[in-house]
Symmetry: C2
Subunit: 214 residues, 2 copies
């Protein structure tokens, strides 16, 4: 994959949305779209869209708009979705199982290779064909399978200890659902925190601002 340095994280964070929208347009059979129509669909200005996509070398052809499949696939390559990164999940409670069952890791740049929990009732259960292992086996598993990423679906209190262990075991990225802020100052470790409550608070604002509450 070509690397693209100095692209702002704000632009990066919009790419998955482009990817999703373009995928939906493909699914309904569309082949080309103008930046004006894309901007209407996505709620961004057309100039914003042109600027964003120019960061990566520009895909559009003046007057013809964008080839949807080409743009979709190229954004997929930029996001690295075609290069599966090995991942494990820590925590197979409701949240862990919801993530395993609902997320399409294979189409999002990852391959899920292991699931860990400390709850004896869950150990040896299979979820999507993967057997849940005891957290005591994390170290030996990592020595053999060398996962790059860990998805943390564990309580806040357990996160510091587990994330330190995982970093020692060679894990270099976290998708973090625990509400603990992993120290992302460690050189060469990236953390993507999921804060679902932010969108819940935004909904609260929008409900009240529009006087929809009775």
């Amino acid at each position: 994959m070509p690397t693209h340095h100095n692209i702002s994280i704000a632009v990066i964070r919009r790419l998955p949305r482009y990817y999703r929208f373009l995928g939906e347009l493909m699914n309904v059979g569309l082949q080309r779209i103008s930046s004006a129509s894309l901007s209407e669909e996505m709620g961004l200005t057309a100039s914003q869209i042109r600027q964003d996509l120019n960061c990566f070398g520009g895909f559009g052809q003046q007057g013809y708009g964008y080839n949807i499949k080409e743009l979709h696939d190229q954004i997929g390559v930029i996001l690295g979705l075609d290069q599966p990164t090995k991942a494990i999940i820590i925590g197979a409670g409701n949240l862990g199982r919801a993530v395993i069952n609902h997320m399409d890791f294979g189409n999002r740049g990852f391959v899920l290779e292991g699931i860990f929990d400390q709850d004896k009732k869950l150990i040896n259960q299979e979820i999507k064909g993967i057997k849940v292992l005891d957290t005591s086996e994390i170290q030996s598993f990592c020595n053999v399978h060398k996962p790059t990423v860990a998805v943390l679906c564990i309580p806040k209190t357990a996160t510091e200890k587990i994330s330190n262990l995982l970093i020692e075991c060679g894990v270099r990225g976290f998708w973090n659902f625990s509400h603990y802020d992993i120290n992302s100052d460690v050189e060469g470790v990236v953390v993507e925190n999921v804060h679902m409550s932010d969108s819940l608070m935004t909904l609260s604002y929008r409900i009240k601002e529009a006087n929809l509450d009775k």
Copy 2:
């Protein structure tokens, strides 16, 4: 609550982050913070922060910085977190239960009043003290309790029918975990979609851009 018109959704979407950060600063006992320090903590420029907070009348005092608790509480009021909106959850599978157990609705502007599922095994189970009801009871429940918001933790295929029913029953806001795009063109209905896969794709990018994958 005072309403604040014409504030861009981009600013609104940053307010929950301010709220979270300020809450964490309060928890460690801090009382004041300069916009420079706040900007460092949050990864935004100081001028961005001043601009954002000026949208709401400005809270800082030149040279003294922000009073953390005051700013936190005022953002809470702006977000409407002090005015509980009645909510119900549709879907009590892994995802629904994860949302019920992990989300602090009470401190996020909502009060959870009902849980619905069509799975006979789940009906009459209690989750956080609320009994799961059959989805066939949604209409009669809404007539009595008049919830404003529904949290949708159901498969994509079920969402169109259920969301139309809920709108008929007076629901005016959706926190939508299904991957179905609810038609948000209906007058006076707001939809907050949760796309967890966007942050997973961002993680894919960051892993590969930093060459962390082996």
